[in-house]
Assembly symmetry: C2
Homo-oligomer: 233 residues x 2
Amino acid sequence: MVAKKAVVLLSGGLDSTTSAAIARSRGYELYALSFDYAQRHKKELDCARAVADALGVARHEVLDLPLGRLGGSALTDAAIDVPDAPDPAAGGAAIGEQIPATYVPARNTVFLSLALAYAEVVDADAIYLGINAMDYSGYPDCRPEYLEAFQRVADLATKQGVEGHGPRLEAPLVEMTKADIVRAGLEHGAPLESTWSCYRGGDAACGTCESCVLRLRGFEAAGVEDPVRYETP
Amino acid sequence: MVAKKAVVLLSGGLDSTTSAAIARSRGYELYALSFDYAQRHKKELDCARAVADALGVARHEVLDLPLGRLGGSALTDAAIDVPDAPDPAAGGAAIGEQIPATYVPARNTVFLSLALAYAEVVDADAIYLGINAMDYSGYPDCRPEYLEAFQRVADLATKQGVEGHGPRLEAPLVEMTKADIVRAGLEHGAPLESTWSCYRGGDAACGTCESCVLRLRGFEAAGVEDPVRYETP
């Protein structure tokens, strides 16, 4: 019997790694897709490769994307600093209340469109992505209604869709809290020790950027120790 | 008064050039976007640059896209030959009846997603593209219902959409015949002499690939001579 195939968007972070591990548990052969888009550091990509190996993917493509050429985000534009997570006690907005400087314009749409192309080429049944609406954090393209809209595009845009079997978008984490994600990762054998969530590119995770703060809170709420090393303050 | 801005997808072909010329006629300042995606030849990109100059665009970005890495099309995969247009008299399917080998997986979705990112960065009101459903030619992502689906994504995906003014997709050629497009191009001062439609990369256009055949029929039906040079058989 031929295994079902899934394209898995893999950043090397906690969420995408857990999402991919869930796809594997559901019996899919994995076709991983990562992007090199002028992030501030390559550590994420090294982690994505380690995660892909650990998950035993059938193929892993790392595509160069010149998103930095367009500008507009702290993650791709060297002129904008990555901020620490806002401190509500000091009058800052709570995480999730406004669109953060780390937002990359139309990023999920760009990533999904390339996942759609990849799915068409390998004839995948599904596309797995680790987006999450709970920890939505001001990113407009992480909401369930956004996913539904992109599903409609996927059904109309491709040869597969015309033939009646367009790839199904699966976002298994979309309604999970960060603690749920940590627990799901452990349950499905996700290699959490190889993941990287920090927006900054040090040897150890900074522990203070928005992404680190959300991750640490999730491990704490799950009652599990994060296997990743953090800078000691 | 600040001019309205439009991102214009510019391949350097007849359709995208005419579409961009229409945007200019409507008073938009133009932000052109072209892609280098392992086409068989760079002639298209030289033409796109010449067209952008002739149209007086405010900015022109040419982004490298590694679509060829994914494979799956005669336009990006050197292992698949570009076919001549099918000959119905010889038993071939008429143009438009099946998805051709030159179809690039999810191409318009990939291009539109990057146009959306660009529109967000420059705060454009509209995205112009030269897709056409008459000369649909078997490409699933050239249909009006596809565009409507992507508009929904554009409204949900971006910071602009959240703030209530997402960019509007404009496909002014979508219901035109090729002859209509030739006439519209002349009416709006499109630099047709700088355009390139041939799928092959010779010094002159081949005149026999599907794209050349459709273009030549259009000029003939419009009663205008094509200013581009063709190979003499």
